[in-house]
């Protein structure tokens, strides 16, 4: 029986670094994400958020250090890691415009080695829960951003991942489309998935995330729950705390 969003365990990042030629994009970072936990990864453009997520998704090789996804090492067991993760990007969601929504989702299911029966069951299920019945067999080229985002969501979870990575998934979306994504992230949490959510929006991370990691120039500046950070920095405004941390670092 094919079950969705089942039993995510954890992400364990240990002294992970990535160097591009002479530029250190990620510098010796370590953190953990438990089952059913949403970790917010926040930082400015170029802070190293996307590079971190790309390494966890095994798209990029780590220069040093490692990470384990459900116990599988990203450096040594990339193939198994990719079977455990689902990733959703912001901005252009990267769909094939000339294929239908169903064909887009099926393509990714096939690439993840699923059987025909599994694909059929899982697509039917996703179409139902994401309310895509009306347009699932239409080509995605003329879809609205919200419709495209739903297809991208379905594509990212069609293979039943237990770890979800969200790379600024609401960037450029209108309120309705952004809400679809936020609801989906909360559903993933309810199903006990381990989640990393990177964003620019402090309001969004404050509302969704259980814990935050503030990253700047590839290094972790601060880590903790929203309450812990507010208490430590004596401020109720996360944006102020962020600016204080990053600003301090820039001055230094």
């Amino acid at each position: 029986m094919f079950i969705y969003f089942g039993g995510g365990r954890m992400i364990e990042v240990t002294e992970l670094s990535k160097v591009f030629k002479k530029i250190t994009a990620v510098d010796n970072i370590s953190f953990k994400v438990e089952s059913g936990e949403i970790l917010g990864l926040i930082g400015e453009n170029g802070a190293g958020k996307t590079t971190t997520l790309r390494m966890l998704a095994t798209m990029l090789r780590a220069s040093s250090g490692t990470a384990k996804i459900e116990g599988y090492d990203i450096n040594k067991e990339a193939y198994k890691v990719r079977g455990k993760i689902g990733i959703l990007f912001g901005g252009e969601v990267g769909l094939y415009d000339r294929l239908t929504a169903r064909e887009n989702i099926r393509y990714f299911a096939e690439l993840n080695g699923m059987s025909k029966e599994e694909i059929s069951t899982s697509i039917d299920y996703l179409v139902k829960i994401l309310e895509m019945e009306e347009y699932v067999d239409r080509r995605v080229g003329k879809f609205s951003r919200g419709m495209k985002q739903k297809v991208a969501i379905a594509r990212s979870i069609v293979h039943n991942p237990t770890v979800m990575l969200f790379d600024e998934p609401t960037a450029g979306l209108d309120v309705t489309a952004a809400r679809i994504v936020q609801d989906f992230i909360i559903k993933c949490k309810e199903k006990n998935n381990s989640i990393i959510f990177s964003s620019h929006s402090m309001q969004e991370v404050e509302r969704i995330c259980d814990r935050l990691v503030i990253i700047h120039k590839g290094k972790i500046l601060e880590e903790g729950t929203v309450d812990y950070l507010k208490d430590k920095y004596q401020s109720s405004d996360m944006e102020e705390i962020f600016m204080k941390l990053v600003g301090d670092k820039i001055e230094k």
Binding site: M59, F89, G91, E92, G94, Y107, F108, N112, G113, H159
Partner: protein, 400 residues
Amino acid sequence: MIKLKNNITLIVFLKELKDMFRDKKTILIGVLIPIIIFPLMFFVIGKSMQTNNNKVENNLKISLVDNSNSSFGSYLRKQKNLKIVDSKNPDQDLKDGKIFLSIEIPDNFDDNITKEISASINLEYDNSSQQSSTAEGIVSSYLDSFSKEIVTNRLSKRSIDTSLLTPTVLKLKTVEKVDNGIGKMLLSIMLPLLLIVYSVSGPLPAATDLGAGEKERGTLEPLLTTQAGRMSLLWGKFLAITTLGLISTIASMIGMYIAITQKGGLFSSTTGGAGFSIGGTTIIMIGIVTILFTMAFGALELAISIFARSFKEAQTYLSPLIIIAIIPAYGTYMLDAKNIDAFYFSIPIANGVCLIKEFISGIYNYYHMAITFGWLLAYIVISIMLATYMFNREEVIFRT
């Protein structure tokens, strides 16, 4: 594991084909235009040439100054296709294209003929005009016939056999039927060039779309997060690009075949339409060379496309490839298929052109074939290695 990899390659290959063939531009540029362009082009050229010739041959407008009403003047007036125009300023009319040529027969022309001394005729034509040049040829042939008549009469009066003038007679015999030979010669000049151009240009749109296009649309990153191996993805794309390139080449070949065999086109004046044919073995051998070239260029174009940051950048890098490929192809396309030196078969692209030329002429030189196929396989391996290298380089894949 191997089975899974093969399946992934097949899944990617089928998806890419479906995706590309749903694009109307692909069908238009890759299939319809190659089929239509050659018949259309050669039909228009052939028709305009025929119209041009008919215009001159059947309505040859000349100005004739023949004050003495000479015998040659009378001879010309009897020709049905000649139209004598009364021109007050022949030089200007010739320049303006109102007449094709101007002839002036001196008053003493017939006297000189009678006295059996050389009689001159003044003929002026526009050597920058094709119609005027054709007219000059026609009138010269009339003068030849007229001269032969005079000589025959003179010899007859002296009771001399006219065969004295033709001590030798050349009886021509050709290896091929005349039409077939002309057709093969034309084909051995044009076909290799055409095939090389299509081997380069055929896979271009697909390579641009499946490399840089995929990067630009943001579809490559999600693809890399799946369990599909990068090599399987690359092979699927490579096979799709090669297939599209071949379809495009085959479409152009069909177009070329229609162009050669159509009536009223350029070739019908020389080959009489379907005046020649190529054997099955020749077609297979030419097909193999074309497939190998398309594979080599497909892989090379994919490698370049993956390297490019965007669709536009890929087009900038890939467009010169056609020119680069055409240079060696042009350098060899006039070579006689029966006398090609061995070193030509080691020059990239030129070797393919030379080998196709030999095949069309029915030559199967195993030494030349071994060298060329060896090189072609080397090009394919090198191109695939380059594409693999590009596809595995993080700084290339995420180069935006």
